[in-house]
Amino acid sequence: MALTYELAPAADLTAFLKRRLGEKPSLDLLVKGARCAACLGKIERETAALPGVAASRLNLTTGKLTVSFDSLSSADPGAVVATLGRLGYPASPYDPGLAAEASEREGRRLALCLAVAAFGAMNTMMFSVPLWAGLFGQELGPATRVLMQWWCALVATPCALYAGRPFFESAWRSLKARRANMDVPISIGVLLTLGISFSETLLRGRDAYFDAAISLLFLLLIGRFLDHELKSRARSAAADLLALQAASATVVDEDGQERRRPIGDVGVGDRLVVRPGERIPVDGQVEAGFAELDCSLLTGEIRPVTLGPGTACPAGAINLSGVLRLRALARPEDSSLAAIARLVEAGAQSKSRYVRLADQAAEIYVPVVHGAAILTFAASWLLGLGPREALLRAVAVLIITCPCALGLAVPAVQVSASWRLFRRGVLVKSGAALERLARVNHVVFDKTGVLTEGRPELLDGPPSIVSLAAPLARASAHPLARALAAHAGPGETATDVVEHAGLGVEGRIGGRPARLGRAAFVGVPDCGSLETELWFGFEDDTKFRFRFSDRLRADAADAVAALKAMGLTVEVLSGDTPTAVARAADAAGIAQRRGGLTPIEKAEAVAVLQSGGHRVLMVGDGLNDTAALARADAAMAPGSALDASQNAADLVFSGDGLGAVVEALRVARGARRLALQNFGFAAAYNLVAAPAAMLGLINPFLAALAMSGSSLFVTLNALRLRTPR
């Protein structure tokens, strides 16, 4: 590298220190690249040896390093980050937030409930086997039966009351909101079963269903636990992405010192420094410095915009060259980004109106099953059975139609679907996202960074001239120069290189002075060309022009063809110029295309499609896509996308190919098919089992068999998704 940028001074990170009363101040960092015991030892040893550091511990699973300091005054977080950088592990401040902590607590609680339910189910089963044997004419005296039933009660009741708390609490919340979710019938079923079993045991009856109550909870908790793990894994992955693009800005104090501050603390009039490669934090005006800005994530255009003193620069653009000194013109929440953020919020609300499959099923299931149970009780009583016998039959209906199959049907399928997608490099943020994705019938692509690779490629240029300019291009960090250098391949580098921010690069090739950059810089009259171009020439010699364009992703055309073959319609919505959009769309084989759209127009276009009856999948990466991503029925973003876009998207795919979009759609559709199959099976099973229970043909043994059998069937059916056919 001939060129190194002025290194950022040890950034001031004291703003990220966590201060808790009675505890030492600590700092959470996300460390990249730590993989093995050697990394772990090196990182902990070196950071703990720093002055002022009390302790340092790295979590190798999550890549999070917690450093605690002796006291606030001696804490130097910047030194820790600098040390990590020197060791070769880039680190950034990380704030897990309250939501993550709550989610972790909930995960532990579910795990403990699951363990208690497993213990209860196994031990109750142990006492139930003699009872079942008694049902089939084996020798079991009344005294032994009552003893076994009491032991069942003793083990199952406390376990069920403890392990059932997640369901009882959720049911209570839903009842208070005057709605019935799946947890209402579960809670009623479990509590009623426990109550009836107690009274039967007291009355020396034959049928006590303690084992059914606790194993029902055990099976349901498995589904609940899987669902929670799926959500929290996706959430922590999303939080990691955010941390890597830590939202902070470098603010210059009145005494001229630079401090790194969280972006929310930037006020109007603050003076900021933005170095090459950094993002403009808030809308501002350039006070000093020249630079080129990459606005492609804002507008979709890959041609860099040149800035000088006095010009305004939009938040979200990336500084490509030169150090910029800005004065903030707006607070972060008033910046041009904030308008988009509000649209995202509105879109997310429309998404939350989606009712999940399991809840749809519960809406049918709850009234039907409870109606059947009440009917059984009333009819058996009227037909001459005693109230005790009638109640027992009603409870048998509730137990036998237990919603375990329903409770497991969807989580089991979604966990195996998201696991399969995870291995393909697609991150699923929630189960609901998969359900929405499966129902999509129209796909909208953004152009820059989605259909195309989002970086410039040399269009034309005779090889002899490319190799002539290459030594100078290799010395520059500018994206266009890098594209030129990549085209030329390895070779010699120019000497005496000077990079002029916003203009180009100057140096000597074989002793002759040469320039590479904008037309005026190289010595050609600037005719305001709209092309993405770079000029090159030796001093007092002929000047040459290189044109650049954004290359289509290698598998874009194949992916579009595959989507069409799946019966989907495909469209391009882009903020780039219509000609550029047409060129990319033609190459990808997409007939419907629109260019020159603002972010708001994009979101509106999606809304119009939705009101026309389409269910839209939006695939986009830029800030100009976030509103549309939030608005669409389902949204996907590539891993290279902005944090805001990844936040708005339901699925994030890494890797170079759009094949991930096709695969995600296939898996989502497969998952929906399997979930519906599972529901169908559960319905068919209930159609046989419920009448049998109403007629009093069910005993505790058959109930246990039917319950675990149906759950096992549903889980095995879900696992079929793991292996691609």
Binding site: C36, A37, L40, F127, W151
Partner: protein, 53 residues
């Protein structure tokens, strides 16, 4: 029959020990960093390590 009166509570008690142990591991954050715990066993602790030959 008397043996059942003894064995049944014993088996439940053994199960309870298992649940208690699991509760203890959860409480002690033992599932937070499985990869790190596997790696740490490979690290030599400078104080405890035997002197070099």
């Amino acid at each position: 029959m008397n043996i059942v009166m003894m064995l049944a509570p014993m088996s439940v008690f053994l199960g309870l020990i298992g649940v208690g142990a699991f509760w203890w591991t959860l409480k002690n954050n033992q599932y937070d960093d499985p990869a790190g715990d596997a790696a740490r066993i490979l690290l030599d602790d400078p104080e405890d390590s035997p002197p070099a030959i």
